[in-house]
């Protein structure tokens, strides 16, 4: 039973993980993540990598939208910037993988900061439209320049890390998941710093934040930059994962996917971004598994495929109606239940 935590120092109070129970669970999670590739089939490994990429990008969007309160529908475009940077560097110059990923992140960061400039003047839906425009511009650039391969896009050789050729989901897992975990830790730590708290202050009331001495434009641009950096790295991982990048790889609907992921997961919570991305990626697949388990063979697949989409949509609506704070809040309530049990349940 654990009914409270007792802290004696400020350091303990501000710790990223504040209790022994949490440490134990994180340890178990780490062991599971390490053991997973050795027991999972190729299909589940593929999904794990895809989920990790989506988690990285959602977390980036969560920094911008969830923590800083700036709506963006350009996350897929920034992912595209990262993916193209990586593909060009890899295909043309064969530069090292980690350098390519960083370069992808920084190019997307610059793109994000440029798009973020109007954020001082416009907010909400207006900013959403600005970011949509960014995705159209990015699509145009991808489709019309020879360096990006035009509409055909770019194909690339598998990446190499420490001499290993990353050409299977198993090998890619050891790149994608650690990078995502690092990015998650980075994001979680960000909100223990001055910068992260400034983001939250801007989200809660930007005028008050400015009165407190937070330079709005600087921090808003920083938020855009960080968010796009996450998207860029996620896009780079995406490029290594699929090894083909085309202008149609990053449609507007992908940005909506990430926005939906952080809304369903819980905005302004790192765990929310993770849970949302897992939910959005996995639920359609789980629904497919359920359809497959029903007797009826391929005819049933044809019949139930559209029904599956309806159920997926209904699930999202259901979550938003019954738990607007998202899956992260459900998780918090579950934790609270166990903290207080057996005194209150």
């Amino acid at each position: 039973m654990r009914i409270g935590t007792f802290k004696e120092t400020y350091v303990a109070d501000a710790a990223l993980f504040d209790s022994r129970t949490q440490h134990v669970w994180l340890g178990i999670a780490a062991v599971l993540l390490v053991a997973f590739p050795f027991v999972a089939s190729d299909y589940w490994l593929y999904l794990a990598c895809l989920i990790a990429i989506n988690v990285a990008s959602s977390t980036g969007l969560n920094i911008l939208t969830g923590y800083t309160g700036l709506v963006s529908l350009g996350q897929a475009a920034f992912m595209g910037l990262g993916a193209y940077t990586v593909a060009i560097l890899q295909a043309r110059w064969g530069t090292p993988l980690l350098l390519n990923l960083l370069a992808g992140g920084f190019v997307a960061m610059v793109g994000g900061m440029v798009v973020g400039i109007p954020s001082l003047r416009v907010k909400g839906l207006y900013l959403a439209i600005v970011t949509i425009a960014a995705s159209f511009i990015a699509h145009f650039l991808f489709a019309n320049f020879s360096i990006t391969g035009g509409t055909t896009g770019l194909s690339m050789q598998p990446g190499q890390l420490f001499g290993a050729v990353l050409d299977t989901s198993f090998r890619l897992y050891w790149l994608i998941v650690p990078v995502t975990v690092l990015m998650l830790l980075g994001a979680a730590n960000l909100f223990r710093t001055r910068i992260g708290r400034a983001f939250i202050a801007i989200r809660d009331r930007d005028i008050s934040a400015e009165v407190l001495g937070i330079p709005l434009l600087q921090y808003k641009l920083l938020s855009f930059g960080l968010s796009s950096f996450y998207a860029g790295v996620a896009g780079g991982l995406w490029a290594y994962f699929f090894r083909v990048v085309t202008p149609e790889s990053f449609p507007l609907s992908l940005s909506i996917f990430f926005l939906a992921a952080i809304i369903v997961g819980g905005m302004g919570s790192i765990l929310g971004g993770v849970l949302g991305a897992v939910f959005m990626t996995l639920v359609p697949e789980v629904l497919k598994l359920i359809v497959d388990l029903l007797p009826g063979g391929t005819n049933l697949t044809v019949f139930l495929s559209p029904v599956r989409l309806v159920i997926f949509g209904a699930l999202i609506i259901g979550f938003l109606v019954f738990e607007p704070l998202g899956l992260a809040e459900m998780w918090r309530r579950t934790r609270r239940f166990f903290h207080l049990w057996p005194f209150r349940n």
Binding site: V39, A40, S41, D42, Y43, W44, L45, Y46, L47, L50, A143, G150, T151, T152, G153, S155, P158, D167, T168, S169, F242, R243, V244, T246, P247, E248, S249, P284, E285, K288, L289, T298, T301, V302, S305, P306, R308, L309
Partner: protein, 395 residues
């Protein structure tokens, strides 16, 4: 006591769920269930999403041919199993389906749903080395046996489709002016540059090339541009239906005398008939016979006996893909070779003057990655049918 029973039940439910989860993760069950001698066709099929209209037909076509083969005893005594998955026409979902199907079955043949998927999965096919793949895409890029050694197209590629149309035009009206109208997508832009060069080679001129957003509605400015160029023929590519009817209607209202043409995905009978009276005379390239064609075609008769209602050209495409898949498997097994990607592909490339049972009107030869043959059909709105406007054209 009651509390304890409930918690025991809960625990057993959780244990069962955990066991089911572990089984789902490793998923060897269905592989064990698979007969050792089965030939497996996997499929990333778009049964939902923007391409569902074709996916449902493709799925039925593959299913029917597999049934015909299994009813006749299979391939050299081996039964054929078809395992489709819905993809919603999304590349990542398609790849997930591929991974799922290949990790649960020993797949020999695979049907993919898009150019993006074909390109994305190609390294995996090369690495895996045991699968031959075809798909719904006719992208010119895929028609390269060196780059895509384990894939093929179930018909001519988009450039070859243009080639068939341009050859027909050059014969019908030498020196004609041909306009290209295409969508701003990979699909739309695919054959444009190479076809412009071919048109010039055939003595035709291309006075205007117009690119529009895919599925755009307001095309009035583009129609004015087209009218100024006064083409004898206008070829649409990269669309299914919109904005083609709008172009034709406005073009006719403005007195244009052009003949209007389309490529495969526009040319299904049900799609063309949606153009209404202005679609009269709409022409285009079709690599297969239509469901209702009256010329001798025993396989079409078989299809009509199985399915009395109209079947789309996407159905024929799926059906023919399965036929070529299993012909390749048959030839490989007859040569006492294992069913590897390389063996299946060389068996496919050994196909010479092959009779498709009338699905394609002439015997076919597959020397590379495509079947460069097709015919020009024309819409007869009164009869609500597509009728042949040319003989079969081989490139």
């Amino acid at each position: 006591m009651a509390q304890q029973r409930i918690s025991t039940r809960r625990r057993s439910i959780m244990l069962t769920a955990a066991a089911a989860g572990a089984a789902a993760l490793t998923q060897p069950l269905s592989v064990l269930a698979q007969g050792a001698d089965e030939i497996v066709i996997g499929g990333s099929i778009p049964m939902t999403g923007v391409f569902a209209f074709a996916g449902v037909g493709i799925n039925a076509g593959i299913q029917d041919y597999v049934k015909i083969v299994n009813d006749a005893g299979g391939i050299k005594g081996r039964k054929v199993k078809y395992v489709p998955e819905d993809t919603g026409y999304k590349v990542d979902v398609s790849v997930a389906a591929f991974k799922k199907i290949t990790s649960q079955n020993k797949v020999n043949l695979y049907y993919g749903d898009s150019t993006g998927f074909a390109k994305t999965i190609n390294p995996e096919l090369d690495r895996n080395g045991s699968i031959l793949m075809a798909g719904a895409s006719f992208a010119t890029e895929l028609n390269d046996p060196k780059k895509y050694p384990h894939q093929f197209l179930v018909g001519p590629d988009y450039t070859e489709m243009f080639g068939i149309l341009l050859n027909h035009i050059a014969k019908e009206k030498p020196g004609a002016k041909v306009a290209f109208v295409y969508s701003d997508s990979e699909f739309g832009r695919d054959p444009i540059d190479s076809s412009e060069a071919l048109a010039k080679k055939l003595g035709l001129s291309v006075p205007v090339k117009i690119m529009t957003p895919a599925g755009s509605v307001d095309v009035s400015t583009e129609v004015i541009k087209l009218r100024r160029a006064a083409p004898d023929y206008t070829i649409f590519h990269g669309y299914i239906l919109a904005p083609i009817p709008e172009f034709i209607t406005q073009g006719k209202q403005q007195g244009m005398q052009s003949k209007w043409m389309g490529t495969f995905w526009t040319m299904d009978s049900s799609t063309v008939m949606k153009m209404g009276p202005d679609g009269e005379g709409f022409m285009g390239v079709m690599p297969y016979r239509y469901y209702y064609d009256t010329e001798k075609a025993p396989m079409l008769e078989k299809i009509r006996a199985m399915r009395p209602e109209y079947q789309s050209t996407a159905y024929t495409q799926g059906f023919l893909a399965a036929m070529l898949f299993l012909e390749s498997a048959k030839r490989t097994l007859e040569a006492n070779k294992p069913l590897t990607g390389d063996n299946l592909k060389s068996a496919l490339n050994s196909i010479k003057d092959f009779d498709t049972g009338g699905l394609i009107g002439v015997p076919i030869t597959i020397s590379g990655n495509s079947i460069p043959v097709g015919r020009v059909y024309r819409a007869d709105m009164k009869a609500q049918k597509m009728v042949a406007a040319s003989d079969w054209i081989k490139l």
